[in-house]
Each structure stands twice: as C-alpha cells, then as structure tokens.
Subunit: 201 residues, 2 copies
C-alpha cells in the first residue's frame, strides 16, 4: 500500500530531525492524524516563526528576538562585562544560566573545530571574539567548550590565539559529576578527577 | 535567561508529541535553528497539509487521499472482497500490507475497547462494520486486533456481535515471534505457544 502523499511527506520531514528514525517519524505522523487539528497547525506555525522571529545577538551571537541588536544578557548592565564565558552553542548558555551561578557575559562560537567535519576556525565566531576583545574590557575568559575531542581542540586553539593578550584564561573544572557513582565513571573522567585532586579544607 | 518566544513556542509544540520530553523538544528546536531554513519550512508545510490532504475511506476507514471516496485497497478489484481483516489502526493495515501475504480487504476500528479510557463500542467503527456486513459479500473475518488486554476485549466483543451471521470468524495466531529466543519469551507468550502447539508435517 502506498501512503497518501501528505502522510509520506510528513514522515520524511520528521525523519530529517536528529534522533528521529523512520519508525518514530511514522508514529508521530499517525499520532497527529488522530490528534485535534490544532496540534499539527500549532506546530506548523511555531516552525514557520522559528527563523523569522529570532536573530543572533550581534555581540555574543546568542539567540535573541528578531529586531534586537543585542541580547538581554549583553544589554544587562548588572552583568560583569569583564568576565566572558565562551561556549559552543546557545543551549550551553541556557545550561549555565540555569545554574544561577554565573554573572558574566557569553560568547557563542556556534560549533567546535572538527577537521573530520571540515569545520575550521573561520567557520566559528572566533574573528568576532577577537575583535570584541580589542576593547580591553574583558578581564577573564572562561573556556567552556564541551569536554570532548572537538571541544578540547577548540579550547587549545583559542588558548593559542589569546596568548599575548592581557587577559586571564581559565576553563571549567573536570572531575566526577555530582550524584554520579565512582564505579560507573569512565576511565578518562577518573584520570581527570585524580589529576585534578584538591586539598580538602 | 528567558528564551525568545518563537523558540519557547516550538519547544512547547514539540513537547506535545508522544515520546518527546522537554529535553528532546529543545534539542530538536535548536537543531532546526542551525539547520537550513527549508528544513523547518518543509516540516511546517507537511504539517499544514496533513489533515487537509487526507481523508478516511468511507468503506474501510483506512486513511486515503483527500477527495477519494474509497481507498486504493477497497477500490482494487483484484483483492478478495470476501476476506475482511479487522484492525485497530491505519498503521496496522500498513504492517499487514508490508508482509505481501494478504489479498483481502480491511476494516479499521480506530481504537480498541477500553473501559479505563472510556472508549466504548460506539467510539469505534463497529456500527459501520455491521452495516458493511449486511451485503453478505464477506465470507471470512480475521480479527487482527492487538495481542493486548484492550485488543483481546475488542475481539471478544466483536465475536459476540458477529454470532448468528453466516461468516467464519478467525484470529491471528499467537505464539513465539520469529527470530525470538525461547529463554526471553514472556510467560503468557509461552503459555499461548504451548496451548496452540501444532503437529509437524
């Protein structure tokens, strides 16, 4: 049996999303077919407005509302503009903001260096970072790239680029995650936790 | 940090889908934000056309293209109109068609009896089934509801409704799934497989 084209099209569109295989895509499609019509129409409208309603902050390249030059964090005069946290993705900003423990500002690279995927320094917001540092306002840079091969390579590269600038460069601590179990920690995490052991006070 | 409204809206719309939690919803949203714009617009268009482009076959209540009175299976004169397979959902039709081993027609109930969820006989396409049987064309009915509590209850109910009609009523065989391992089969499946054991030829 060939499926009606509208169903086939939606299954294909869902399948393009990361982590959504053909089975999940058809399950979602047939769910929407039975659900009230506004479920699918609301989703369609939200998708339509996703790109038109958002823009990138021209300072930190985080996501902000369309029509805003600069995001709410950059515009906030209460935030410490001398403390700059460099992250890979807007979702990382969200994660750090949720902690409630960071009062500085951000710079979003929009990716990490990856020779395999052909992502070089010119594909990230590094040029914009360097020109931003030109003002001399920044006192400390926290490299908060992911604890992965690509994230580490990006941090190393940035470390090199920042040499010679009058700015302190730090990175997020590595070690055992809270609530984790030593027994289940992977070898690399354990090695890092050992190497970075701290005196108890 | 509060997210721009278009992002918040899309995360909420995705979260309404079954099996999609807030984390997956935000991952999908941020993925689309970086993906080419046509990804989200194609998905929006497919969603828009889902309901307007499809209709239910007025004979078997399977899904078909909008504007068609009767689906391709019901309209196919090569199919055995005397053999009727009753299933819960359109996806079940798809699964049976994929086997390539069924040449009869279908009737889609659009659900199964479930006192807990308040789904009674009048919520399913049972009245339409009975009036369809009035023509006397059907020779055999295969009850192919799911091997679940609700599916079994629905099959039992239909069995009662069909009594007195000059039609053979069968159901799909229960037993060990192909490629499965006896060791991992659940108790009920094993009991069914034992009770339904067949002589080898």
């Amino acid at each position: 049996m060939s499926l009606p084209a509208p169903i086939q099209n939606l299954i294909e569109a869902f399948s393009r999303l990361p982590g959504v295989g053909p089975k999940t895509a058809s399950r979602l499609t047939f769910y929407l077919l039975r659900a009230p019509e506004n479920f699918s129409l609301d989703l369609a409208q939200a998708l339509d407005e996703l790109k038109s309603g958002t823009a990138f902050c021209q300072k930190c390249f985080n996501i902000t509302d369309a029509g805003r030059e600069v995001c709410a964090i950059c515009a906030d005069e209460e935030r410490d503009q001398g403390l700059l946290c460099i992250v890979e993705e807007p979702l990382d900003v969200l994660a750090l903001e949720r902690t409630g423990g960071y009062q500085g500002v951000f710079h979003v690279l929009h990716g990490a260096l990856s020779p395999i995927e052909g992502i070089g320094p010119e594909d990230l917001k590094i040029r914009q970072l360097m020109s931003r540092l030109g003002s001399g306002e920044v006192r400390e840079i926290i490299l908060a790239t992911n604890p992965s091969m690509e994230g580490d390579a990006t941090a190393m590269y940035l470390r090199g680029q920042l040499e010679g600038l009058d700015v302190q460069v730090t990175r997020l601590a590595r070690g055992l995650p809270m609530g984790g179990d030593l027994e289940y920690a992977d070898q690399n995490t354990l090695l890092r936790a050992l190497a970075g052991r701290q005196e108890m006070d």
